[in-house]
């Protein structure tokens, strides 16, 4: 441990010309400064297919449970059954994806070792462990026709937990230092909810007959509009950090998603009497939702890989705060 060190290099002697004490000029850097262009934060190690896939499947499943519950109680059996099967299938796929992405899959039960409200993943794990059985039971009951009361109860449960499954993942990715995610943490849940709803609606359109698909169309419409609006809002708030959403793979995915959403919604509204048009529109909406999640995922990764998205906003914040900050950006 020892004493404070006072070995001041260059102070005892050294260069006498040029400038006197205390007059070190700060050389203003015209450019953005980083350590050899290396990222400041780590990019997520999550595999795209696993985790972006999970964001999509979880959103679809959760929202489908809502639609299924609604359909269940408004006597739209095909739509309800489709929603329940989607939810149950979704949750199985989601669980497989999650476990597959673990570095130590055999330790997946450790997810329930603690309950941490500070960890969206912990909260999500507990939610999933409630939602999974409910969605499963609801689906089994719907398909087999057995245990109708329990099935109804499970349908209600899944319908209530489902939305949280759809939106907690927004908190999950926003609760990171990834600039493009964290910066959008206010809007992200609405993007996810909208995207989930739109996908669930889309799936309903795909699965249900024309006479039963009104809720699906409405769900898709509401979802799609919220998604598009929330996304625009998020992009605006992100400022320069929105760049990764517009460029590269992410940019392509997001643009495709937006186009598909608009097309899907248009098709769903305009072709509402045509089973085929409805189905194609539904498919477009489901794909749009997937594209959106993959786009968001990719944008996040890209924003973590370039230090300017980390340093830039922080430097701006510092400068705004004390006004004396040295302009580096």
């Amino acid at each position: 441990m020892g004493r404070p060190r006072d070995a001041l290099t260059g102070v005892a002697a050294g260069r006498r010309r040029r400038r006197g004490r205390g007059e070190q000029p700060v050389v203003p850097d015209a450019q953005f400064t980083s350590y050899y262009g290396r990222p400041v934060v780590k990019r997520p190690v999550w595999r795209t297919l696993d985790i972006a896939g999970y964001l999509f499947v979880g959103g679809l499943a959760g929202s489908s449970s809502v639609l299924a519950a609604g359909a269940h109680f408004t006597d739209r059996p095909t739509l309800a059954r489709a929603g329940k099967i989607t939810a149950a299938g979704g949750v199985v796929v989601a669980a497989v994806l999650l476990v597959h992405d673990l570095g130590r899959p055999e330790r997946f039960v450790n997810m329930l070792r603690v309950f941490k409200p500070t960890s969206p993943m912990s909260v999500g794990s507990w939610l999933l462990s409630g939602y999974g059985p409910a969605a499963g039971l609801a689906a089994v009951s719907a398909v087999t026709g057995r245990l109708p009361r329990l099935g109804t109860l499970a349908t209600v449960g899944a319908g209530l937990i489902g939305p949280t499954i759809t939106t907690y993942t927004a908190a999950l990715i926003s609760d990171t230092a990834v600039p493009a995610w964290h910066g959008g943490h206010r809007e992200m849940p609405y993007v996810f909810a909208g995207s989930g709803a739109s996908a669930a609606g889309g799936l309903g359109l795909l699965a249900a007959p024309v006479w039963e698909n009104t809720p699906a169309r409405r769900m898709a419409l509401m979802g799609g509009i919220v998604e598009l609006a929330a996304y625009r809002l998020m992009e605006h708030r992100l400022g320069m950090v929105a760049e990764p959403y517009r460029t590269g793979t992410a940019g392509w995915l997001v643009r495709a998603s937006e186009a598909l959403t608009v097309a899907g919604l248009a098709g769903a509204v305009l072709g509402r009497r045509n089973r085929l048009v409805c189905a194609v529109s539904g498919g477009a909406l489901v794909s749009a939702s997937a594209f959106m999640r993959f786009g968001i995922f990719k944008a996040g990764v890209a924003s973590a890989e370039d230090p300017k998205y980390t340093v830039g906003p922080q430097r701006e914040r510092l400068n705004a705060r004390d006004g004396s900050g040295i302009g580096r950006v």
Partner: protein, 188 residues
């Protein structure tokens, strides 16, 4: 009983009991963590040593457990190094126990294209024979009519991370053999 023990070890249960409600401290600690000790603390023996790299001569503590070196740390008692080590000194555990060490005698016969294995005992015997033979062949009683009592047939070049005692025996043996071309890194 087992269930209770399991339950008591379950961090969620500990969280609920209020010891650490957020689950970020004590409650999350595993048994392995709770029992963690520095491996030097459980060593059988601490052997005093000196770093083998440069000539600063930093003190080292060599920790031994079950007949194996488990760690090498700077010796805080040393007035030279005060417990500190440079990257090389810090790597001396890997130097001495790492994958770079070779533990077998190898032999390349004249014109051989590959290494062959050879027992240590046999190798020593062969080397002793070579020394005796080469010494006899190259023996000089005189050069230019003046007594020299030596052999120019054998030479040795040693590193300078050898011990004084090793250098002493090398110089003593080779001088007695009449070999004079005994050199080391100090000239390099």
């Amino acid at each position: 009983m087992a269930v209770r023990r399991w339950l008591k070890a379950w961090p969620v249960f500990r969280q609920l009991r209020g010891e650490d409600p957020s689950g970020r401290g004590e409650a999350a600690k595993s048994r392995h963590t709770a029992e963690l000790r520095a491996r030097v603390s459980t060593a059988d023996e601490v052997v005093k040593s000196i770093c083998p790299y440069c000539a600063v001569g930093c003190g080292q503590d060599v920790f031994v457990k079950d007949g194996r070196v488990i760690h090498i740390d700077g010796d805080p008692d040393s007035p030279i190094s005060r417990g500190r080590l440079c990257p090389k000194g810090s790597a001396s555990l890997q130097l001495t126990t790492g994958p770079g060490r070779w533990y077998e005698v190898l032999y390349r016969r004249p014109y051989g294209t590959e290494w062959e294995r050879l027992g240590l005992d046999e190798a020593m015997d062969m080397i002793a024979d070579r020394v005796i033979e080469t010494r006899r062949q190259g023996w000089q009683w005189e050069e230019n009519g003046v007594r020299v009592r030596r052999t120019m047939g054998i030479a040795s070049l040693g590193g300078a991370t050898l011990d004084n005692e090793e250098n002493y025996l090398i110089k003593k043996l080779f001088t007695a053999l009449g070999a004079i071309q005994i050199e080391n890194q100090a000239r390099i």
